[in-house]
Assembly symmetry: C2
């Protein structure tokens, strides 16, 4: 490893897959370097740590580069971190890693002596989009990851924001309905409990129970498990209830956008993650609601967008942590 290396390894640790790739200083993944392996959660901590190191090593090998060309390994992981003590405190889908010094473990496991940077996966996606995606050149960017839950990444003055205790940027846990439904975090009425993929499906079922007709509901009654993707597809095919539900998701997200404008005031609010597959139908609903609610300068000087890095945002941002020395380092 040299200090002026032009590459970093990005690793995206998910509950199902570990993805790795070698990323250059402009945030581009070296195509030949892409690696994906099963996480194998059930096999325990040592297995996962070995798999992360293995994926990183295979990515470098596949890239045709040498480790001397690489500045370090950036690892994006779900969960809450103790940045001061270098501990992964809690990640619901990776229970065996909870309480572990994940960055140090991975560094020890790697066959090469290189730096490891550990960062929250949604933060990585935020940094990725700000560094190499739709937010290139922006100083301040807020990103929501839309999936089973809603994560957040906040870049301020070009740097990831962690907060005093390392638990900031949990943007899915802003309250939209003070007396609303219970959220998994223990709070009530959080954005995540209304606008995540899971919550979108829940609202669909709730609406069906009130007797609203839907072709998708007929399918569900025949045994199909409804997903947010199916709701979007049904909406495209003209299913009115599906469209209403999806646009309501957009409405909730639009309210959260305005909260972000009023609190953080970034120049870009970006959405990433699986639900962005719903495309303009979702994005237009977000923008419409935000336009209705934004005060002062309104939406002037703000872009509300989907990310351009797709599923690579986390991996690229993890590599970006190496270049910007962000996160827990070992």
């Amino acid at each position: 490893m040299t200090s002026n290396s032009r590459y970093a390894v990005g690793v995206d640790l998910g509950g199902t897959f570990i993805k790795a790739g070698v990323v250059d200083a402009q945030g581009r993944i070296t195509p030949s370097s892409r690696i994906s392996v099963d996480t194998g959660c059930e096999k325990g901590m040592q297995w996962i740590v070995a798999s992360i190191a293995d994926a990183a090593e295979r990515a470098v090998e596949a890239s045709g580069l040498a480790w001397d060309d690489v500045s370090g390994v950036g690892l994006g992981s779900p969960g809450v971190f103790d940045f001061d003590n270098g501990i992964l405190i809690f990640a619901p889908n990776l229970i065996c890693l909870n309480g572990q010094p994940l960055a140090r473990l991975v560094k020890k496991e790697l066959a090469y002596d290189t730096s490891v940077y550990l960062e929250n996966d949604a933060n990585c996606a935020g940094l990725g989009e700000q560094w190499a995606g739709i937010g290139r050149g922006a100083k301040n960017l807020v990103l929501f990851t839309l999936g089973t839950g809603i994560g957040g990444g906040v870049v301020l003055d070009g740097k990831l924001w962690h907060g005093s205790r390392g638990v900031g940027a949990e943007l899915g846990h802003q309250v939209l309905f003070a007396d609303g439904v219970k959220c998994g975090c223990g709070n009530r009425g959080c954005l995540e409990a209304y606008a995540s993929a899971t919550a979108t499906v829940r609202r669909f079922h709730e609406a069906v129970k009130t007797g609203k007709p839907s072709a998708l509901a007929d399918k569900a009654r025949a045994g199909a498990k409804v997903t947010s993707k199916m709701i979007h597809e049904a909406a495209v095919r003209g299913d009115v209830l599906s469209r209403d539900i999806l646009e309501e998701t957009g409405r909730f997200l639009g309210i959260a956008v305005v909260n972000m404008l009023n609190i953080v005031d970034p120049e870009i609010v970006c959405f990433s993650g699986g639900m962005t597959g719903a495309g303009d139908m979702l994005l237009n609903a977000i923008k419409d609601e935000a336009a209705k609610r934004a005060c002062g300068p309104g939406l002037k000087g703000v872009s509300i967008v989907f990310g351009t890095l797709g599923n690579d945002a986390g991996l690229i941002g993890a590599a970006g942590c190496v270049f910007s020395k962000s996160g827990i380092s070992a």
Copy 2:
């Protein structure tokens, strides 16, 4: 003026009074320097600008110091600013100043050639408390000003946060009830529309209309205009409805505190402004609700407090802007 001066003038521009004082580098007001003059809104822009300059000059004179001892004048003003172009865009109670380059006008008016820094008044209060009040030594502090409206000040890494467009930290305009009452800002369900002094009085009247008994309601029917201070006083005297209403205000503020923990994650959340006169009855309600809703590390490592600078927070923070070169400078 010398660059290593040990004093700055702080000016707090309100709709009714202009207050000024000379502040030392530790954030203490020189007692003899305190000046208060009528704003005289109805007399127009030139009058107000002259009054600001006059108050600053009289404060220095009264302090017994010379202008050579003073680094500059910090001016805290309500309103929204265009920081890039140095313009006070909009302040509802100072209409004649809207669209004006207030810092430049004051600099021109001063008999002494010194720097002028213009900053939002709630931001000043936040900086004041972080610099010289309850938040001394904190890196990250969030402050709510509780008055007719609810303002906000956010200090990150020891510096005031303005956002990309200068409209960040408007903490009163986070949505607590997505489909709630219309807010003055054009949005719906904002914290300000539920927990400001004005909103507290409104909720009191709404509760009375539903038939709930209250000694204060009897007074109101006899012609007294209810204020949030009267609601607090009635609560202290044992009026159940008044207590419920005030504690509900605390509950709403507690929800906003948790939003701040989840988004910004400061080590201190501070309340300032007139309504803090309600003391522990309000503060305990805020803390109780925050404790119920905080996730992850909960309230560990966070202080939820009232400011210690009282009505001086804005003036002291305005002077702090001179030392930290914050805000619009002229």
